[in-house]
Every structure is written in C-alpha cells, then in structure tokens.
Symmetry: C2
Subunit: 77 residues, 2 copies
C-alpha cells in the first residue's frame, strides 16, 4: 500500500542508567510491534510519577528485572 | 499506630501459564512495596485488553521477559 504506516514509539530519549529498585513504582514493558519496531521499557518513579525510558539491552536493566522478579515479601519501611 | 495499614495487591488469581508474545500488548511489573508484599506481573492482551496476572517465579515468565527484552525490530505482520 502507498500509505505509510504510522510508526509510533513512546520513548524519545533512552536513559543510559538504571533506576533504584526502591524508588520504582512500576515498570512497563512494551514488546516490539507494528507500532514500534523495538521493545520499550518504561519506569515510573514513586516520588513524582516521572517516567523514564530504560535501555532493554543494558545489563543493568537485565539485572534490575531479575532483582524485582526475585523479590519476596520483606519487611517494609 | 493502632490503624491497620491497607495492604492491597492487584492480583487475586495468578495464572499458571504464560502468554503468547505476539498477543501481548504490554507487561506491567510492580515491585514488592508497602502496599503489596510481593512482586506482581500483569500482562495486558492485545485482543480485548484483558489483564492477566503472571507468576513471577515461573520459568516460563522468566523466559518470556528474556525473549521480549531481546526482541529486535523484525518485519511485522
């Protein structure tokens, strides 16, 4: 089709670093799709609801995901 | 304080299985917090926006996360 498809990714700037697990409200992971050809990982921070795009290929992010996944209940505050 | 704290997790029922990467709109990961003592992973499906809670300790979910993270752009549809 001659119509160009709208490709829309959410992340404009990808953060080089990671985020502190304790300051993290949630992580959203959007798989690559017809709307955006690359996976996007978006962190929402507790403090101000700030959203930050993380690098899916970063080893620090890989480790962050692993740490979160393995977190069991532990005494909080 | 005598007031009991409201502990509120999102997931009531955890799915035993996994979800097809292609049918996945997004994954949300909520780290353990004072509101919910365990990590929660919630899949949103493309088709109907259905949300499904996944088991963070499942090997299938670990592999799903890995597969999504490693997904590069590839021809879609």
């Amino acid at each position: 089709s001659p119509l160009s498809r709208t490709v829309r990714c959410t992340c404009i700037k990808i953060s080089d670093g990671t985020v502190n697990r304790q300051s993290l409200e949630k992580l959203e992971i959007f798989p690559a799709s017809q709307y955006c050809p690359k996976v996007e990982i978006i962190a929402t921070l507790k403090k101000n609801g700030e959203k930050r795009c993380l690098n899916p290929e970063s080893k620090a992010i890989k480790n962050l995901l692993k740490a979160i996944r393995k977190d069991r209940s532990k005494p909080s505050s």
